[in-house]
């Protein structure tokens, strides 16, 4: 009992329970949900697909976790995904023989660099000019899609350079390659935030910016850094998105991703009010969002209707975080004297 109690207090516990419940549901109601086959030495199956399809959102969620921990928000990540995809596609080029215009690593590097610059732009607006995060990132979210379309001359660029497909479609040791990218990014982020004082400072700034300043923390640099990092994550996510479909569509790449990623972070236990952040929780959150979507597909429901379900999840999660709502529920169950 005591173990269960301390376990349930761990923040990661509830997201995992939610994921497990979803999985159990599938176990009984979705035939072959858990079947994993081996074809040509690779693993195939629903579960593998979920992880693979969730990768772009997971990558975004890593960056957003830190942004949200500072009590901020970044709604430009979807647009940055499109920019990154556009830049890498244009630099590799649509040569039908698959000969890249520029070496693939350079193209990828350039795309990520542009994304980091975009993130730094956001960071500058928030930390130096002092704009509210939602407003600052709104600007790039409006303009970013335009930048992406201008980069690709408003066309869908198809790629044929085989090596680039590894990122989003390839397999390594039987598992989708994108999983390794996610793992590497999370590991690196965890290392940088938890093996240095960065994580502590980010949380301190999110919990109490005034006290953080009084304790000698340079909150401006922290803020600048998290937005730049969010740009980096969006850039990498853009590479994976582009590689998965071997094309860059400035109009639709990453469309609405910011919302799924924010939901993933919140489901993972990081509060929109800032403070303690949970990188692994965010990953689990992304998996929940993806599993939910896949489950709905498995029932033959048109994929788009999945959005209604996601809307409901957002609603329930926000209600659960609402103090007023909790007080009302408490009141309903007879603890009226505590209700506000």
């Amino acid at each position: 009992m005591a173990i269960l109690k301390s376990l349930s207090r761990a923040k990661i516990f509830w997201p995992i329970v939610a994921l497990a419940v979803l999985m159990c549901f599938n176990l009984f109601f979705t035939p072959n949900f858990f079947r994993v086959e081996i074809k040509e030495g690779h693993l195939y199956g629903n579960v593998i697909d979920i992880i693979k399809n969730a990768s772009p959102i997971m990558l975004l969620a890593v960056g957003l976790t830190l942004v949200i921990a500072t009590k901020g928000i970044d709604i430009s990540v979807g647009s940055i995904v499109a920019i990154s995809a556009g830049v890498v596609a244009m630099l590799i080029g649509g040569d039908l023989q698959g000969v890249p215009k520029y070496p693939i690593p350079y193209a990828m590097g350039a795309a990520v660099l542009v994304s980091v610059l975009a993130g730094m732009w956001n960071g500058m607006l928030v930390s130096r000019i002092g704009m509210q995060p939602i407003i600052a990132t709104l600007i790039l979210s409006v303009a970013g899609r335009g930048i992406a379309m201008v980069t690709t001359n408003a066309m869908i660029v198809w790629l044929y350079a085989k090596p680039f497909a590894l990122l989003g479609q390839g397999y390594f040791l039987g598992l989708p390659f994108s999983i390794y990218i996610v793992a590497a990014l999370v590991l690196l982020t965890a290392l940088v935030t938890r093996r240095t004082a960065l994580g502590l400072f980010i949380e301190a700034v999110g919990i109490n910016p005034t006290a953080a300043r009084f304790a000698g923390i340079n909150a401006k640099n922290i803020l600048f850094g998290v937005y730049a990092f969010s740009g980096l994550c969006a850039g990498i996510s853009g590479l994976v998105v582009c590689s998965t479909v071997m094309s860059a569509d400035g109009n639709n790449a990453g469309l609405g991703y910011e919302l799924s990623a924010i939901l993933a972070v919140v489901l993972g236990g990081t509060s929109l009010n800032g403070g303690k952040f949970y990188l692994l929780g965010s990953l689990v959150g992304a998996l929940i969002v993806q599993t939910l979507t896949t489950t709905i597909y498995a029932f033959g429901v048109p994929p788009e209707i999945a959005k209604v379900v996601i809307a409901m999840v957002v609603l329930v999660v926000s209600l659960l975080q609402s103090f007023k709502f909790r007080a009302m529920v408490a009141g309903f169950f007879g603890k009226r004297e505590f209700s506000v």
């Binding site: 379309m149 959005k307 209604v308």
Partner: protein, 338 residues
């Protein structure tokens, strides 16, 4: 009595927007022949009538210090609902229009109620609304539904001819009615002024005895109504319902409101400013079309840049005011400073 227009800080942003519009239209007129035609000017309204309607609703939301991300999807839902009721259920248009408007009101009421009663951030709740409305579109149909209904056809093709042969569409008339109503409500009714008061200082508004809770819910109801109406107007324009209509349109609506001089932090702004904002938006589009070599996506970049400039301007404005609020300047110079 209209408040007299004076050059004070309150309507400075609106004047800046108007100036910007005149400048851009002037540049266009000098650079491209045929740009200065009256019809070209009126086309700004014809092509953006739905955005004008969305903008009016969004102006109220933003002045109150909130945000409504659901408007694009709500518009799409409205196009789907009207086309499906007309074409699949063969309802009478006179019944379809009120039902569609009512659906917008209902969704707005739901969001406003949750935001107000549970004290949740509008950003999150209208985000859920965005998903919900978009999903409901697909519940109706995944495919495009063309509209062949005679009333709709008439509305789409009718022209209201003005002096000199130039014309506007019935949609523009509807949009202008909404704009006038918006201007009247924002300036001359207690509801309108309460919206400003809430955006200025919600706590004060409560202490001054204003009906804050009711007003905040009504703001989202109004925005929902505008989205539904914009959807109907949109179907007059496209003669079809499609679930992907209005993707990202919430951003366009917010952008035009901001360019129109409304503060994203709330409390300051005007419906008239939003009209100018939409005109600037439309002019950028037309300029790019006339220019010919740039692709239409430069519009978004230009819009983003303008939003940036306006936010920056607002920010500088705020910090100047903040510095004054924090520390006193002798009263005489404080009055003279602005």
């Amino acid at each position: 009595m209209k408040p007299k227009i004076s050059l004070n800080s309150r309507n400075l942003p609106t004047l800046v927007t108007l100036g910007l519009f005149v400048l851009m239209f002037g540049v266009g007129s000098i650079s491209f022949s045929g740009f200065l035609a009256p019809q070209n000017f009126l086309n700004l309204f014809i092509d953006n009538s739905y955005l004008l309607i969305l903008g009016v609703g969004m102006t109220f939301v933003i002045i109150s210090g909130g945000i409504d991300l659901s408007v694009g999807s709500m518009l799409a839902f409205s196009t789907m609902l009207s086309s499906s009721l007309l074409e699949k259920s063969h309802w009478n248009p006179m019944l379809v229009i009120p039902v569609v408007l009512l659906s917008g009101v209902a969704l707005g009421l739901l969001m406003g109620y949750i935001i107000q009663i549970f004290e949740l951030p509008p950003f999150i709740i209208t985000l859920a609304g965005l998903y919900l409305a978009r999903g409901l579109c697909y519940v109706i149909s995944i495919d495009t539904i063309g509209i062949t209904n005679q009333f709709w056809q008439d509305a789409a093709h009718a022209q209201v001819v003005l002096i000199g042969g130039a014309f506007i569409s019935p949609s523009v008339v509807i949009a202008l009615v909404v704009v006038m109503a918006g201007m009247f409500v924002s300036r001359s009714t207690k509801f309108g002024r309460t919206v400003y008061a809430i955006g200025g200082n919600e706590q004060s508004a409560i202490l001054m005895g204003l009906p804050v809770a009711r007003t905040k819910i009504l703001i989202y109801v109004f925005s929902g109504f505008c989205s539904a109406l914009a959807g109907i107007v949109f179907t007059f324009y496209t003669l079809s319902g499609y679930a992907l209509n209005g993707a990202n349109m919430e951003m366009d609506a917010i952008a035009t409101v901001v360019i129109g001089g409304t503060l994203l932090t709330g409390g300051v702004g005007s419906v008239l400013g939003t009209v100018f904002g939409v005109m600037v938006y439309g002019t950028i589009q037309v300029l790019i079309v006339f220019q010919g070599t740039l692709n239409s996506w430069w519009t978004r970049i230009a819009i983003g840049f303008l939003v940036f400039l306006f936010c920056l301007m607002q920010r500088l404005f705020e910090s100047r005011k903040g510095a004054r609020g924090r520390k006193r300047v002798p009263p005489a110079s404080a009055a003279a400073a602005s």
